[in-house]
C-alpha cells in the first residue's frame, strides 16, 4: 500500500499518474469525489488507485456519530488483505491534507478534520510507502 498526501492542488494525482504510468480514466482508478468508495470485491485490476481519501472520511463522519476511526481502520485492514491475497497487487491511496488551516466553525467539519488527521496517521502507519507531494516535488517520508 502506497499513501500519497499533501495540500490541495499540489499535483498529487499527477504525480501518481507519472509514477505508476497510470491515468485517471483507467480501470481501477476510483475518484471518491465522484463516486462512493468501492469495496475490495470491486477491485478488478492489479493496480488500484483511490483518489480523495478525505471524501471517504467525510462520508464515514456523516454516517457515524461514534467509532469513526475504527470504521476506517477496518477499511485499511480490508485493503491490506486484498493486497496480500495476490502477489503483485498494489493499492495507491491519495489524500488531501486538510489539517493545517483555521479551525472550522461547524462541529461536523471539525470532526471531519480531526478524523482525517487520525486516519491519515493510521494509513501512513499501515502503508509500505508514504510520499508527500509539494507542488509536484515528492518527499519520501516512509
Amino acid at each position: 500500500m502506497h499513501f500519497v498526501t499533501g495540500g490541495a492542488f499540489h499535483g498529487k494525482a499527477k504525480w501518481v499518474m507519472k509514477t505508476y504510468s497510470a491515468s485517471r480514466n483507467m480501470e481501477g482508478w476510483f475518484n471518491l469525489y465522484e463516486a462512493e468508495c468501492p469495496e475490495t470485491d470491486q477491485f478488478e485490476t492489479s493496480l488500484v488507485v483511490l483518489e480523495g481519501m478525505e471524501q471517504l472520511v467525510k462520508k464515514v463522519v456523516q454516517e457515524n456519530k461514534k467509532g469513526t476511526r475504527e470504521v476506517l481502520q477496518k477499511k485499511l485492514q480490508s485493503w491490506l488483505e486484498w493486497e496480500s491475497d495476490v502477489r503483485g497487487r498494489r493499492l495507491v491511496l491519495i489524500g488531501t491534507d486538510i489539517g493545517k488551516g483555521i479551525v472550522p466553525m461547524e462541529e461536523e467539519n471539525r470532526r471531519w478534520r480531526d478524523v482525517s488527521g487520525w486516519f491519515f496517521q493510521d494509513t501512513a502507519m499501515a502503508a509500505e510507502r508514504v510520499n508527500i507531494v509539494w507542488y509536484g516535488l515528492e518527499q519520501t517520508i516512509k
Binding site: A8, F9, H10, I98, I102, Y135, G136, L137, E138
Partner: protein, 200 residues
C-alpha cells in the same frame, strides 16, 4: 535564473528574498522590487511602508515598481544583468483573477477566463525572467487548510496551486521559508546536478 520562495504569513520569506536578491546582485547592476498589492487598501499601506523602510535600511538601492497586474508591462524597465524581486505572487493573482469585482463582475466563474489569467501570469513571468539575470518570486502557502466552500476561494486556491506547480518546475532554486529559516526544496549540488527535497 528563476528563484521561487514560498512560506506562510510572517514566516520571514520577504526578508530572505531580499537577502537573496542582494546576494545575486553584482556591482553596477540594479536591484528592482516589484510590489503587487493595490495601494488603495489602507491596511496594506503600513506594511508597504515597513517593507520599504527595511529595504532602505539594508543599504542597497532598490528601485520600486508598483504593479498590481499586467506584469508583462514592466519588461522594458529592466536591463539584462539586473536582479528583480517580485513580492508577491498571491496579490498579483488575486488582482488579476478578481479584477472587476467592484463592478459585480464574476468572470472568475468562467473556465475560459481563468485559463487566460493563468497564461497571462505565466507569460509575464517568462518575459521578466528572460529580461533580467535573476528573477525572484515570493508567494504564499494558502493550501494547507480546510477545503474552500465558496467558488471565489476555490478557484483562487486552484489557480495558486497550478501556478506554484508550474513555477516550481521551471525554477532553478525553490525554497520554503519556515520560522525565518529557508528550507531548500529544489536546487543544485556541488557538482551542478539538479536535486529536489528527497535527494538534498
Amino acid at each position: 535564473m528563476l528563484i521561487f520562495i514560498t512560506g506562510g504569513v510572517r514566516s520571514g520569506k520577504s526578508s530572505f528574498a531580499e537577502m537573496s536578491a542582494v546576494y545575486h546582485c553584482r556591482q553596477g547592476n540594479h536591484l528592482h522590487y516589484v510590489a503587487t498589492c493595490d495601494q488603495g487598501e489602507a491596511e496594506m499601506a503600513e506594511r508597504i511602508s515597513r517593507h520599504r523602510e527595511d529595504r532602505e535600511k539594508s543599504g542597497y538601492s532598490w528601485k520600486t515598481w508598483e504593479q498590481p497586474r499586467n506584469l508583462h508591462d514592466l519588461c522594458a524597465a529592466f536591463e539584462k544583468e539586473d536582479v528583480v524581486l517580485l513580492d508577491c505572487l498571491t496579490n498579483l493573482v488575486s488582482n488579476e483573477l478578481f479584477a472587476g469585482w467592484r463592478d459585480n463582475s464574476s468572470q472568475w466563474e468562467e473556465a475560459g477566463f481563468r485559463k487566460v489569467v493563468f497564461q497571462k501570469i505565466m507569460n509575464g513571468i517568462k518575459k521578466l525572467e528572460n529580461q533580467c539575470r535573476v528573477l525572484i518570486i515570493v508567494s504564499n502557502e494558502v493550501f494547507q487548510g480546510f477545503p474552500a466552500n465558496d467558488s471565489g476561494t476555490f478557484y483562487f486556491m486552484q489557480m495558486m496551486g497550478h501556478l506554484h506547480q508550474h513555477i516550481v518546475r521551471q525554477a532553478h532554486w525553490v525554497y520554503q521559508v519556515e520560522l525565518g529559516m529557508p528550507i531548500l526544496r529544489k536546487g543544485y549540488d556541488a557538482d551542478g546536478n539538479q536535486c529536489t527535497a528527497c535527494t538534498v
